[in-house]
Amino acid sequence: MGGLAIYPGLAGCDGDMTLNATDATTVLGEIQPGGETPGDIVRGAEEMAGARPSRKVLLGFVPISVLLVGFFLAPLMVMVLYSLWTMEGFNVVPHWTLVNYVRFFTAGMYTAILLKTAAISLLVTILALLFGYPFAYFLVRYVNKKWQILLLVLVIIPFWTSYLLRVYAWMGILGRKGVINQFLMVIGLVRQPLEFLLYNNFSVTLVFLYLYLPFAIITLYASLEKFDFNQINAAMDLGATPWRAFVEIMLPQTKQGVITAFLFIFIPMLGEYITPKLVGGTDGTMMANLIVNLFRGFQFPAGSAVALSIAVLITLILIVFRRYLRVEELY
């Protein structure tokens, strides 16, 4: 497979902007050990891509197909059916109706909470990007490789403990007798514990930021690591301000990482349930909390309709941003 030798050169085009036309001609025009030209190899690859895969190869896809159909598609279909049926007492009965969807779109409470959920998710996502980008930038540009790994491990260490424990820990930090209030009282800065720290939208936002910041950092790190910082120097040599160099050179080239981080944070947050329940108070209610109440109250059709409507919304977001979802290129 000597033909693979062309790839390092092509990779250089992607990451090394100093590659000139002569270099490219040399690389692409090189005769490979097997006597094949790069053109032959490309054509061969195209033929392979167009070939009919063997039964053996296709069999390899059976487990994942069964998994997806059995554990994703089939339950989803059940949800779809439930959303179109009605409830009689404690049982779902197959009386077809759209009333569950009509109620979702006409009852102001769902749209109000959905907008609030989206607003909190958006705020947290933007904050995570604002905190995560400088951190990843600092890490990639100014920290040597050995320390980078250590710092990245520190970033992901919280994932080694349970999500629930981490949220409970914040209750211990922000509570009336929590670390912050105790400290402020000991140093005499306040006489009474600060009430606004817990059980409101502030605490929900803060805890979400803590929970999702690592996703932003890791994704942005992967994107920034491929960036050639000489371009910044070159831009500044040519008179660009640091801000202009960032906006016109670095941000466009790391845009994919930013959007991927956005999706990695924003989408799961739309379905968050535990955090608002534990640290949110009555003001911190989010969409998933209402859905859980519906299921608890045996309103399976209504709960299914609301949950599916959210799923459709997420799908629409993914469709809009689909061209940025080339995760394999990111890493």
Partner: protein
């Protein structure tokens, strides 16, 4: 690349066929025998018996956290070879829903409240038994063995455990004039100082009670609207809805809240946790209340060990300890007598341990006929 080749189109057709088959099967399950669409199918388990033979082994128990102690589980395992796997739930509707989904294959014993018990039976989810065949049943108060709403077809439907009116607790340090009405909770000066358990039906019922509605679990649509309006007005004063009542103890202990709807015994639980003095009152408009018991799930796969737990471990000693730990009264007369002997008579009487008949005068917890209206009203109030 040897082997018979198939085209991608053929592959897609194959997998789509398999997929549609599975989806079809699931659809069929949803429509014809899915867990939430009908009563559980009949099982091959023996019909309701007077008693299941006590056997060693494991069983699954869906319950509340205050129905057992870890030490008690350890003793059951070491002395009787009964290994208990408890699963916690927050309210009756959640437990009912889960038992409806999985039945006796995954749950052997389930705890439930008052009128929910008969609902379980009507839906074919539990089976009755002869109470007197349990050795520990002789320890119960006599009145407890005669609750007609817990009997059907000549059988008892649940092994009685505990009871309590849902009272209102307050911190006298901040609530200086002793309240006697639900109205106290609506005073603007108590903004963000109230917590309640996240039990939508019960919260709505309490709102109904505050309006003087008698049958608070079966309110009419108009009454539900009024109750919803009550909740919306009260919402600024509610700090949060908690999942377990242990969190109420925490919140009262650190004085995050000054009011809470609680079971009997909160005063001592807060005190034991190092918190301030807490008092309770029964609102003059009336209260809801609960009484709970353990039910044998129909077709329970491990009924022997489950029965063994009730027969061997619901002893006066453990029940008395449970009372001292959690405060609310229990239906066990022998445990009451033991507490009296141990010098806890005053506490036991203060917390109504000697008055199990009080449950007959409470508005008991139960499922409503208008569940959708209750839940929608609760959700709407939350969203306001």
């Amino acid at each position: 690349m040897s082997g018979k080749k198939i085209s991608r189109r053929e592959f897609m057709r194959l997998t789509a066929g398999a997929g549609l088959g599975l989806v079809g099967a699931s659809t069929l399950a949803a429509g014809c025998g899915g867990p939430a669409t009908s009563a559980p199918p009949p099982t091959s388990a023996p019909p309701p018996t007077s008693a299941a033979p006590v056997t060693k082994g494991s069983f699954n128990w869906m319950t509340w956290s205050d129905h057992y102690f870890p030490d008690q589980l350890a003793e059951a395992a070491s002395q009787y070879g009964i290994k208990v796997t408890p699963t916690l739930f927050s309210d009756n509707s959640e437990a009912f829903l889960k038992v409806q989904q999985v039945g006796g294959k995954q749950v052997d014993l389930v705890s439930g409240d008052a009128l929910w018990v008969s609902k379980y039976y009507q839906e074919g989810l539990i089976e009755g038994f002869d109470l007197d065949t349990l050795a520990t049943a002789k320890n119960l108060f006599d009145v407890v063995k005669q609750f007609d709403f817990w009997q059907a077809d000549g059988k008892y439907l649940a092994f009685p455990f505990g009871y309590s009116p849902v009272l209102v607790a307050y911190n006298p340090k901040y609530v200086t004039s002793a309240p006697d009405s639900w109205a106290a909770l609506w005073e603007p000066k108590y903004k963000g100082k109230i917590a309640m358990e996240l039990q939508p039906f019960d919260v709505m019922a309490m709102m109904g009670k505050s309006l003087g509605i008698k049958d608070a679990y079966n309110m009419t649509p108009d009454q539900i609207k009024q109750a919803q309006q009550q909740l919306i007005t009260l919402k600024p004063n509610i700090l949060k809805f908690v999942e377990q009542n242990t969190e109420l103890v925490t919140l009262m202990t650190d004085e995050s809240i000054w009011f809470a709807t609680v079971n009997v015994g909160m005063e001592d639980r807060v005190k034991d946790a190092g918190g301030p003095e807490v008092r309770t009152f029964v609102p003059k408009e009336g209260v809801v209340g609960w009484m709970d018991g353990e039910m044998l799930v129909k077709g329970a796969a491990n009924r022997g060990p489950a029965w063994g737990w009730l027969d061997k471990m619901e002893t006066p000693e453990w029940i008395a300890k449970n009372f001292l730990e959690y405060g609310r009264p229990l239906f066990n007369k022998a445990a009451y007598d033991l507490l009296v002997k141990q010098g806890y008579e005053d506490r036991a009487k203060r917390y109504l341990f000697d008055r199990p008949e009080i449950v007959l005068s409470m508005t008991l917890k139960g499922p409503s006929a208008n569940m959708d209206l209750y839940i929608n009203a609760f959700n709407e109030a939350l969203a306001k």
